[in-house]
């Protein structure tokens, strides 16, 4: 990963983490504020609803009050008291109830018996216990109906003025679906009523029964979701509030308050459910969250772009410096880093350029020195190589001069011997000159696709007999089974390998083992030529491929230089591993030919 990428990643992650942290904090805070407002709103609406409920109770009480004050009702009461005959008024209650818009109305005698009942006309003559609650505020009561069912109602009891002993009216309004529908509700608010089954009904008193729960539009869908809240309100007799998830989606959840409605004795007769939808709040939250996500994403993208610019600005001089260093490393000593600014990078660039310039100068000087040294070495080699044949030539010529004085027969014999010696030494000189000529004129490789195995087999077949005969050297071949294709000049590679084999044989005058090995290593082919000779010192290893360096008595020092040249020409490398006394191993690595 480049410096620019790392800088970009670092900047981006830092900015993204910061933006995410800010966004999360904002969202959590917003959610908390919304929840708090939701709770406050629910409390407000529930209290408003309770006030409205109380208002309805007061209305019911007022309606019964007004009815008890009418002349007609007072006349009825007077007649009943005076005559003691209530029968003529059997059907009065339904008429009065209709006029007063009351759902329930009963006229009660002083002894507490029903004279007329709007809700159950056949109940005349039966006692009505609720008649004892005269003068009190409206209260909740469960009323039995002729069909065997019960109905909840808000009731008020009032004595009819002027009649003594007093005739009473027990009037009320149903607390049912219509009652709920008539109550003013805020947008998003839903109300429902759970009627507790009367004692003796099949249902258990505190067990939730979905059939008993009705909303303003009839049966409530998913009524069972309210079960635990209703049961809790029934059990405790206290107002309970809970968050109820209606469909599994958060926007369809509601803050539901269960208000137990009790009769005069404190028994819970019904539970009023006030549900305030959280859809608006959730929608607002989602809207804010979407905006936050959008802003955060934009911020992160902007931060990435800014980071890209910053990273580029910071890393570009370093990249240029690195590029310049690479150029220098590749041998381009003229490469220079741009010197911009006066900061650390600028100073570094200037220092680099200065250092490079100095290195180039020193290298030039070193090359000059090495060139001189090479020439000296060449001169020394040439002198050494040429001096050896020149001395016999000189002796032979001097001997031939002296033999001029000998008799002709002896001279002829000396002449023949001297000319033979001269010819041999001159041939020796030609050989020396030829080698130098070969080194200076290495041919350009003519590449062919061959297998490394074939190359090694060819070398072994050439030298195995010779090595086994005189030097008692064993040839060992380790070749991998996988194909090892090479694009090389077979003759040049053969010559290089032959050179290494001959060196190895030379290193084992008393016999030993010569190992030829080939194996693929990743996308390269590795060739090894190992001997079990005396080995090389580290200094020898270091200088081994230097031209004209040799450890042999009669070597030219050009063999390994030629081998290295051949290997380099094929894009490969050559290395030596050796320890004194444990033989040497030459490792040639060549690129594997592509298919």
């Amino acid at each position: 990963m480049s410096l620019r990428q790392r800088l970009l990643l670092l900047f981006s992650l830092t900015v993204a983490a910061a933006v995410a942290a800010v966004a999360w904090t904002v969202l959590v805070r917003i959610r908390h504020v919304f929840e708090q407002r939701d709770q406050e709103e629910t409390t407000l609406f529930v209290s408003q609803f309770q006030r409205e409920f109380q208002h309805r109770s007061a209305e019911t009480a007022a309606a019964v009050d007004r009815l008890a004050s009418t002349e007609h009702v007072r006349a009825i009461a007077f007649e009943i008291v005076q005559s003691g005959d209530a029968a003529p008024y059997l059907t009065e209650a339904p008429v009065l109830a209709q006029e007063s818009q009351l759902d329930f109305l009963e006229i009660i005698t002083p002894d507490g018996n029903v004279v007329s009942s709007a809700q159950w006309p056949a109940r005349f003559g039966y006692p009505e216990p609720a008649a004892k609650e005269t003068g009190q505020a409206a209260f909740l009561k469960r009323e039995d109906l002729p069909d065997g069912s019960t109905a909840l109602g808000l009731f008020a009891v009032r004595s009819i003025h002027g009649a003594e002993p007093s005739i009473r009216l027990v009037g009320g309004r149903r607390v049912d679906r219509q009652f709920l529908a008539d109550l003013p509700v805020a947008p998003g608010m839903q109300v429902a009523l759970y009627s507790v089954p009367p004692p003796g009904a099949n249902a258990t008193q505190n067990a939730f029964d979905t059939k008993q729960l009705v909303g303003t539009a009839g049966d409530l869908p998913d009524a069972e979701r309210y079960g635990s809240l209703v049961e809790s309100a029934l059990k405790t007799g206290q107002q309970q509030t809970a968050l109820i998830d209606l469909t599994g989606q958060r926007e369809n959840s509601a803050n539901v308050t269960a208000i137990p409605l009790k009769d005069q004795a404190g028994n819970v007769l019904a539970v009023l459910l006030v549900a305030l939808s959280r859809a608006g709040m959730v929608e607002a939250q989602q809207h804010i969250r979407a905006i936050a996500y959008g802003v955060a994403s934009g911020g992160i993208l902007l931060a990435i772009a800014f980071s890209l610019w910053i990273a580029a600005r910071v890393s570009r001089p370093i990249e240029q410096l690195a590029h310049a260093a690479e150029e220098v490393a590749a041998g381009n000593w003229d490469a220079r880093a741009p010197e911009q600014g006066n900061d650390e990078i600028g100073k570094l660039a200037r220092s680099f350029n200065h250092m490079t310039a100095q290195l180039a100068t020193q290298r030039e000087q070193l090359v000059q020195s090495e060139r001189v040294a090479a020439w000296r070495e060449l001169a020394r080699r040439l002198a050494h190589e040429l001096k050896n044949p020149l001395f016999p030539l000189q002796l032979t010529v001097e001997n031939l001069v002296r033999a001029r004085a000998l008799p002709e027969s002896e001279f002829d014999e000396v002449f023949r011997e001297s000319t033979a010696t001269l010819g041999a030494e001159i041939a020796n000189l030609k050989t020396i000159i030829g080698r130098f000529s070969d080194f200076s004129k290495m041919p350009k490789p003519e590449l062919e696709r061959i297998d490394a195995k074939d190359v090694l087999e060819r070398v072994r077949s050439l030298y195995q007999a010779t090595a086994a005969g005189e030097a008692q050297i064993d040839f060992v071949l380790h070749i991998a089974r996988d194909p090892m294709p090479l694009m090389v000049d077979p003759e040049l590679l053969h010559r290089a390998l032959s050179n290494l084999v001959l060196n190895a044989m030379d290193a084992m005058p008393n016999g030993g083992q010569l190992t030829l090995a080939a194996q693929p290593v990743e996308d390269k082919i590795e060739l090894r030529i190992a001997d079990t000779g005396q080995g090389l010192t580290p200094e020898e290893c270091e200088r081994l491929f230097t031209p004209y360096y040799t450890t042999k008595l009669h070597g030219t020092g050009l063999g390994l230089a030629i081998v290295q040249s051949v290997v380099n020409d094929h894009g490969g490398t050559i290395a030596v591993e050796s320890h004194t006394g444990s033989g040497a191993t030459f490792i040639i690595t060549l690129p594997k030919a592509t298919a």
């Binding site: 209530a86 029968a87 003529p88 059997l90 056949a122």
Partner: protein, 449 residues
């Protein structure tokens, strides 16, 4: 002297004028309003005007001749022969024959008839039965057995509502039925020329029309008699014209007689008579009214809830269905009885119509059409679905027969109800017959005040 003469003349004129107003006048249109259908069987108000029976019950409860001029039975009352009145014609002009009478009787009585066979013999109609029929003449006076033309003499299709009565159908349209006097009636011409019957009118509307002079005769239900009298309306009342009773099914949930007896004991009759029917009815536990039999007091009317519980003996009866007419007063009475039953441990539900065939309990109004005690008992037994009618000939046997019938607890008598009508100022001489129906043929119209 002159002063005396003048006063005498004025008094004479007033007396003459008064006499003129009280004399029956021929002519005029008598207007009646009813809540029900005038043709509704058995006691639709038009039926008695258009049709006649073989016999009739007079105001005193005696059987009188009508389309039959005389009748005789064999010694065991198994065979009765009724002699048809001669020269009587239906409104369409066809003659009343014994065959026509038999055809009409066969049409009106398809099941649970008091006879097993009826056939014409010359100008006589012969009824036969395996069991004795001592009250057949009184039964034939009932609304069930009025004679109508079911086929003309020429064999053409019969016209609807053709009888031999004092009035014949003139027109019928949109709830208003017009009857005109039958000039050739065997019983003579009625006083009124026409009678207009406006049907399906609510009682309150009828009363309003009466007060506005738009009608002459309106219905007064038993529970409103008191109110009508308080409003100074002219009300004619026939006491004990109907028996309010609960008919109990012998099959199904109440096949156990103990449960039926428990139900009978649980009903509180007094509130029904005193409150629902405003003291216009008489709480009874007997089939026959006290005024007829004289022994109704022997049947206790008081509620005995303890006995009811004892009779039920812990048996849990399944939910019962209680059928009653849809009119408000019958529904109220039914609801009250259900309330009584609930206290006795029975769970009953009131249904909206008395026509429910499979109801466990049915609240019924059974007409008491008059006649002898024995005849009235037969009427009630027949209305209750009994096929074995009474043969009692003396009060003791009659009491025993009534008691035996009530012991089955298939009919629980509750209240004897009156039938009443309110009359307008023009109506003269309108009386109710033994069954409580107005005898319009004898009524006349006075001058409009």
């Amino acid at each position: 002297m002159f002063r005396r003469f003048a006063i005498s003349c004025v008094l004479l004129l007033v007396a003459l004028q008064s006499g003129a107003r009280t004399r029956p006048h021929y002519g005029g249109t008598l207007r009646i309003e009813t809540e029900g259908d005038p043709w509704q069987q058995p006691s639709g108000i038009a039926r008695r005007l258009v049709y006649d029976g073989l016999t009739r019950i007079d105001a005193a409860g005696s059987v009188q001749s009508a389309l039959a001029t005389g009748w005789e039975a064999d010694s065991g009352n198994h065979r009765w022969e009724f002699h048809l009145r001669p020269v009587v014609h239906f409104h369409d002009g066809s003659s009343l024959t014994a065959a026509a009478v038999v055809a009409s009787l066969n049409l009106s009585c398809t099941a649970n008839c008091p006879w097993s066979a009826v056939h014409a013999v010359g100008s006589s109609i012969v009824f036969t039965n395996d069991a004795p029929m001592p009250n057949l003449p009184a039964l034939l006076a009932g609304d069930d057995f009025l004679i109508e033309a079911v086929g003309s003499a020429e064999g053409s299709a019969p016209q609807a509502n053709v009888g031999t009565g004092a009035f014949q159908v003139a027109s019928s349209a949109s709830g208003q039925l017009a009857l005109k006097a039958n000039e050739a009636g065997w019983q003579g011409r009625p006083f009124a020329d026409t009678i207009e019957i406006r049907s399906h009118r609510a009682v309150r509307d009828q009363w309003l029309d009466l007060s506005l002079g738009k009608t002459d005769v309106v219905e007064v239900p038993a529970e409103l008699i008191r109110q009508a009298q308080q409003q100074k309306m002219v009300v004619v009342v026939a006491p004990a014209a109907e028996l309010l009773a609960v008919q109990v099914s012998e099959t199904g949930a109440l096949s156990n007689p103990q449960l039926r007896a428990a139900i009978a004991c649980s009903v509180d009759r007094a509130p029904l008579a005193n409150v629902i029917f405003q003291k216009q009815g008489e709480a009874v536990a007997s089939v026959l009214p006290q005024s007829l039999s004289g022994d109704a007091f022997l049947f206790p009317v008081d509620r005995d809830l303890n006995k009811s519980h004892a009779l039920r003996g812990g048996l849990t009866a399944p939910a019962l269905t209680f059928a009653a007419d849809t009119d408000a007063i019958m529904q109220l009475a039914a609801q009250r009885i259900v309330l009584n039953l609930r206290e006795a441990g029975f769970n009953a539900t009131v249904t909206g119509t008395a026509a429910t065939q499979h109801a466990d309990l049915t609240l019924r109004r059974i007409p008491l059409q008059g006649g002898s005690s024995s005849a009235v008992l037969d009427q009630v037994l027949r209305a209750a679905g009994e096929t074995q009618l009474g043969t009692a000939s003396n009060p003791a046997a009659l009491y025993k027969a009534e008691h035996t019938f009530l012991e089955q607890h298939t009919l629980i008598p509750l209240v004897d109800l009156p039938r009443a009508y309110a009359l307008g100022p023009r109506v003269r001489d309108l009386h109710l017959n033994a069954g409580g129906m107005p005898d319009l043929a004898d009524a006349s119209l006075g001058d409009t005040p």
